[in-house]
């Protein structure tokens, strides 16, 4: 698909990022999480809440999980001193946060606004464990699968099986994704899980949906993240080290359902789009935050993003090429698996991590000399593909 609008979009910069800790916080509401992240992003950007001209709030499951079906954006931002301006909530299942970011990018890139905030928040913990499972079923086609017994982990269990069947990807290679990400998480103060695990831990964890085990899956948790975007002029006047948002791509599924589920066509198309806009290739990416909702997901992302050929994702992780010191460091934050996956927050948390990485502020998990970072965030699954794939590229 040709990119026709490229020359009409002005450069957009990331000038601030803020994030809560991810984890289980029974006493903190989703509104409070969002307020905190938004406040910190504004402070980080060294601007006033009154400088924010438009706001986009990513939240996928606030209604079913908390009952707050409507107006989460307005509620979160009000207590951070942001009100009166256009505020909108975006939903694309697990890509809700990235979609909020995309809207903020469009707002500033189009020239309509000089600044915009994108905040994502989610509270998946509750006193009823069945509720989060039901919420996740809402990311499948409920009418023809989700209400007939399909579960989101079960769908990915089928993807995992198929990748092992077609390419000989091993149980151990899949486990290594979790081991790597838990190791990274142990170096991230905001991570939900901060203890390292072993391959044996993964392989012996309880079966969720054959062959998927508990440690192959990201956890249930809460949290929020926010980023401030600004035009080049505004960024130049206020920010020391703004980062260029070099590309934003969002695709939706096009398949009819009978295709190979071991590759996500949405990701492949979004990646092609994003690399073309940014004027770089996969070999130029130093650090990537990808959507490891399950261990097999990350292996597929290596292939779909062009880090390695199709089918060789298992070998890529086995050879250490996605770990610190590797070809491209993948999920230095700990990823969804270890850092956590409060759904609406994830896409923006990925950008927070890239922001800190490219500014040399990632502390113990710093990727040395990182200059270009990529974030991949996916949402929903039906007709054999994700419903939404969002890719953002940041450059120093």
């Amino acid at each position: 698909m040709a990119i026709e609008w490229g020359t009409q979009v002005r450069d957009v910069y990331v000038i601030g990022a803020g994030m809560t800790n991810f984890g289980k916080f029974p006493e903190v509401s989703v509104v409070e999480h969002g307020t905190r992240a938004a406040w910190h992003a504004v402070k980080e950007a060294n601007i006033s809440p009154s400088d924010v001209q438009a706001a986009y709030c990513g939240n996928a499951m606030g209604g079913i999980m908390t009952g707050q079906e409507c107006c989460l954006g307005q509620l979160m931002l009000r207590d951070a001193g942001i009100r009166g301006i256009p505020i909108m909530r975006t939903e694309n299942a697990c890509a809700s946060g990235s979609s909020a970011l995309r809207e903020a990018w469009i707002a500033v890139g189009s020239g309509l606004y000089d600044t915009a905030i994108a905040v994502g928040a989610e509270k998946l913990t509750s006193d009823d464990p069945a509720r989060s499972l039901a919420a996740m079923a809402g990311a499948t086609d409920l009418e023809i699968e989700g209400s007939l017994g399909a579960t989101f982990p079960g769908i990915y269990a089928m993807i995992m099986s198929k990748h092992m069947e077609l390419y000989g990807t091993t149980r151990e290679q899949l486990a290594r994704v979790a081991v790597k990400n838990y190791k990274h998480g142990s170096l991230n103060p905001r991570s939900q899980y901060k203890k390292e695990i072993t391959v044996e831990d993964v392989v012996n964890s309880r079966i969720i949906s054959y062959p998927l085990r508990r440690l192959d899956c990201c956890p249930i948790g809460d949290g929020a993240a926010a980023v401030m975007l600004a035009s080049a002029d505004f960024a130049r006047r206020r920010c020391q080290k703004p980062l260029l948002l070099a590309a934003s791509a969002l695709t939706s599924g096009m398949r009819d359902g009978c295709d190979d589920i071991t590759t996500f066509d949405t990701t492949v198309r979004a990646a092609r789009h994003a690399y073309e806009i940014a004027g770089i290739g996969p070999e130029d990416i130093d650090v990537a935050e990808v959507h490891d909702c399950f261990t097999v997901s990350e292996i597929i992302h290596y292939e779909d993003l062009g880090f390695c050929p199709k089918g060789e994702g298992g070998r890529f992780i086995e050879e250490g090429r996605s770990a610190m010191g590797g070809t491209v460091v993948v999920n230095p934050s700990g990823g969804l698996l270890a850092k956590g996956h409060p759904v609406g927050a994830t896409g923006i948390a990925q950008i927070c991590e890239l922001y800190w990485q490219l500014r040399g502020e990632a502390e113990d998990r710093q990727v040395e000399g990182a200059k270009a970072g990529l974030a991949l965030c996916l949402g929903g699954f039906f007709y054999g593909d994700c419903a939404a794939a969002a890719i953002h590229i940041l450059k120093r």
Binding site: I144, L148, Y210
Partner: protein, 125 residues
């Protein structure tokens, strides 16, 4: 609702009289020709081949774990989701490529039998 069955107990898809494409579930318009008028309801085969499956240890309300489900590829080149019932619920009992057939679940309701759901089972069982 998008799931509909024929009087003969088959799942209904849509077939385009113009380009011959078959879709599941039924559609409003042909997604290739992008017109409504050429589309007709089309009963799908009752047998297909297993593409991939899982045995779930977690169950949403209304279902009891462990239970199996998978994607079944029908000869019409459509893929259908379905629970799978087999005599022994073990990973070795199911294999991609094996032939499965659909069985409808009916329930007594006002005015006779009502369609409740469906599942697949190995051919010959």
């Amino acid at each position: 609702m998008r799931i509909e069955i024929s009087s003969d107990g088959a799942l209904l898809g849509s077939k385009c009289k113009k380009c011959g494409a078959i879709f599941y579930p039924k559609k409003l318009a042909c997604l290739k020709c992008l017109v409504e008028e050429t589309l007709e309801l089309w009963p799908l085969s009752k047998r297909g081949r297993l593409y991939s499956y899982t045995i779930s240890e977690i169950a949403p309300p209304g279902f009891a774990a462990p239970y199996a489900f998978g994607y079944i590829d029908l000869p019409e080149k459509v893929r259908v989701f379905g629970r799978i019932k087999c005599p022994a619920l073990r990973p070795e009992s199911l294999k991609p490529g094996m032939e499965l057939e659909i069985e409808l679940e009916m329930a007594e309701g006002e005015g006779g039998q009502k369609f409740k759901g469906y599942f697949f089972k190995p051919v010959g069982n």
